[in-house]
């Protein structure tokens, strides 16, 4: 039996990916803003009549006249311009039932292609809530294609569409004339849709507060602030529990195993090393809870609206906002999301500064150092000082990103136009099940990292730190004789001016593969060199007692800038298709990191 190839197309944010997930059982990212999907994704579905259907999810597009790389992907797939892929047998055009004035225009544009097509009126639940009535039969007749209703976020909400996939769809009779497409939309709306109000009153009321010149900014600041406070205060009890468990298991192993390499590997390498990263799971979860709620609610484009003026001053388009925001999770999806930016130069600048946004992998490093060097004090009786410092580190990243963008703008004598043209979606209440699944997914990703790359690198570092073992009669610490000790001491020559000791220098190397490894590497190195007591498992007090404050602050400054993530550089290379841009990006980030740490270290040394 042949496979039916179906493509989901439609305006941004109409629910294509939600529908795709529903049809194929996939778990692609769904969120409430335009431009979530930037790549083509495929999945399979077997219909009631046992037909195999290949479903392709596409980036949202306003028209076939693509203005950005993501829209170009959609255009090329629909028109069959990709060499590796025949054009789809059936277009499933998805439209937001609450916004047909906008979405029907693209439907008509696609209809004019004369290809087999089905219209899925999605979000009919919302339409019902707002009292919008659509005469499906009349619309079907007027368009000359099957029209089905769907609720992509409800279980079984795509039944009508799945049934339709079993029926043959002939190409539409093109009785839609080639006259003005907007006039046709108006006529169609008049004939088939009744709307009590063109807009949702709820959205209007919320926007009056959220976009208010004063209250809007206050709210934005409050949201961000709450987020950083929460990361520290809510997570603390859970982190303590994980830490206690790890320590207990370390102790237990110590009692069970005889002194030797195996015990050291398990206790110093696995538990002290990889375990030291595991502790940060609660903080990661809380950070993502905030990110997910913001993404689902529709608040992100509002934040972009409020901050657009600042972006403009830095020579960025407001379009850069969401890619930059995504980079707080990880720079990789952030760099991918720049595909929604129309102007190639704007896109390049956004890619260049995306690594300056503090990604979640940096959180363990920040949290460790803040825990060791910043006292847990409340400021003005309101803020937690540690949360405040974390907020400032994030802010430092953002401000330097704006600065770098402004400098790049000056350098290229940019006078071109930076369009915004950003759609503000309807607000939606985040769905608890989606949030739970999203967090679960994040937790799994994190645990996989800890159990995979972080554990492997930490074990590798354990070997390097343990061997070769010193000959009898070696006077110094055993670790100084090891491979890692020697490399660390060599590297320290470079890093001494910025206050890094050899332990930090060696930890930076495996940190290139995954930033959190810097934490586990430090833990392992200190655990091996430490005495055989329980204290060796506690990194925070060790750092607090052995490092100067200046060194701690210097490493924090280093992490604001350093491009210590090979996967990010690889994605930058792929998306820019240029080694030069990639090298430039890595180079300027290293330079900034070194200078920032140098200044921090030298100033802090004088002050304290």
């Amino acid at each position: 039996m042949t496979t039916l190839r179906v493509a989901l197309v439609g305006n941004p944010n109409c629910g294509k990916t939600a529908l795709f997930n529903q049809l194929t059982g996939s778990r692609q990212k769904v969120a409430n803003y335009a431009g979530v999907t930037v790549e083509r994704k495929e999945g399979h579905l077997t219909t009631a009549a046992h037909h195999d259907v290949l479903v392709v999810d596409l980036p949202g597009a306003y028209s076939l006249a693509a203005t950005s790389p993501d829209e170009a992907v959609t255009r090329d797939v629909i028109l069959g311009r990709r060499a590796d892929e025949p054009s789809p047998d059936l277009l499933v055009c998805v439209a937001d039932a609450t916004n047909l004035r906008l979405h029907l225009r693209f439907v008509l544009e696609l209809l004019a292609l004369g290809r087999p097509m089905v219209l899925a009126l999605n979000m009919v639940d919302e339409a019902q809530r707002r009292g919008i009535h659509i005469d499906r039969a009349a619309l079907q007749l007027a368009l000359g294609i099957p029209v089905v209703e769907t609720v992509a976020v409800r279980r079984g909400g795509a039944m009508a569409l799945i049934k339709q996939l079993d029926l043959a769809v002939p190409p539409p009779q093109s009785h839609i004339a080639t006259q003005d497409i907007h006039a046709q939309v108006r006529t169609l709306l008049q004939q088939t849709v009744s709307m009590p109000r063109v807009t949702d009153r709820r959205d209007e009321v919320i926007d009056r507060i959220v976009l208010h010149p004063v209250w809007g900014l206050v709210l934005l600041a409050a949201v961000l602030f709450l987020m950083f406070q929460a990361v520290f205060s809510w997570a603390a009890p859970l982190m303590d529990a994980i830490e206690a468990t790890l320590q207990a298991s370390g102790q237990a192993l110590r009692h069970v195993l005889p002194e030797g390499a195996l015990r050291s590997l398990l206790v110093d390498g696995v538990i002290a090393g990889a375990g030291s990263v595991l502790v940060f799971l609660p903080q990661i979860i809380i950070l993502f809870l905030f990110i997910l709620v913001l993404e689902q609610s529709g608040y992100l484009p509002r934040a972009a609206f409020l901050l657009d003026r600042i972006m403009m001053t830095a020579g960025l388009t407001g379009r850069s906002f969401i890619p930059l925001l995504s980079s707080f999770a990880c720079a990789i999806p952030g760099v991918m999301a720049t595909r929604t930016i129309q102007n190639p130069r704007d896109r390049l600048v956004t890619i260049m500064i995306a690594p300056l946004m503090t990604c979640s992998a940096r959180l363990p490093v920040y949290a460790l150092l803040i825990g060791a060097f910043i006292p847990q004090r409340s400021v003005l009786g309101l803020f937690n000082l540690q949360g405040l410092v974390l907020f400032m580190l994030y802010l430092a990243g953002i401000l330097s990103a704006l600065l770098v963008a402004a400098v790049l703008k000056k350098l290229r004598h940019d006078t071109s136009e930076h369009a915004l043209l950003l759609e503000l979606p309807s607000y939606r209440l985040p769905n608890v099940r989606d949030l739970a699944l999203g967090l679960w997914e994040r937790a799994t990703i994190f645990l996989h990292r800890v159990g995979g790359i972080i554990l492997s690198l930490t074990i590798l570092l354990w070997f390097l730190s343990s061997y070769p073992a010193p000959p009898a009669g070696f006077s110094g610490a055993a670790i100084d004789y090891s491979m890692a000790g020697r490399i660390g001491h060599l590297l320290q020559v470079v890093f001494a001016p910025i206050g890094f000791n050899w332990q930090i220098s060696i930890a930076l190397i495996p940190g290139l593969a995954a930033r959190e490894v810097a934490v586990s590497s430090l833990a392992t190195v200190y655990a091996i060199s430490g005495s055989d007591t329980a204290a060796a498992e506690q990194l925070v007090p060790i750092l607090a007692s052995q490092w100067s404050l200046a060194t701690g602050l210097s490493l924090l400054a280093w992490y604001v800038f350093a491009p210590q993530c090979l996967s990010t550089l690889a994605v930058i290379r792929r998306e820019t298709n240029s080694w030069r841009s990639t090298a430039l990006c890595a180079g300027y980030l290293f330079a900034l990191a070194y200078v920032a740490s140098l200044v921090t270290y030298q100033v802090a040394r004088v002050l304290w």
């Binding site: 306003y62 906008l102 926007d207 003026r309 043209l421």
Partner: protein, 82 residues
């Protein structure tokens, strides 16, 4: 008058879209988004720090525009001729 010259909360009807160059991608996109002559628009809000960006309602959709984009849109306030 141009769209960005509307007072906050002002309603108007679009009368023309200006293309600033032969291949004005932005003007074209504006039309695809529903900014076409005859369409009612409303200026709902402006950015907090200056007159930019503009929050504009057209059809059932709200868009954030910068002045550069909004100035391509010629509008007539209700009750005003031409």
């Amino acid at each position: 008058m141009r769209l960005h010259e509307l007072p906050r909360g002002g309603r108007a009807v679009i009368t023309a879209i200006y293309e600033l160059s032969a291949e004005d991608v932005i003007a074209r996109r504006l039309m695809e988004l529903g900014f076409v002559p005859g369409e009612p628009v409303r200026l709902l809000a402006t950015g907090p720090l200056s007159a930019e960006p503009l929050l504009v309602q057209v059809g059932s959709t709200r868009f954030a525009l910068r002045i550069a984009e909004a100035s391509r849109i010629e509008v007539a306030m209700e009750g005003e001729s031409g």
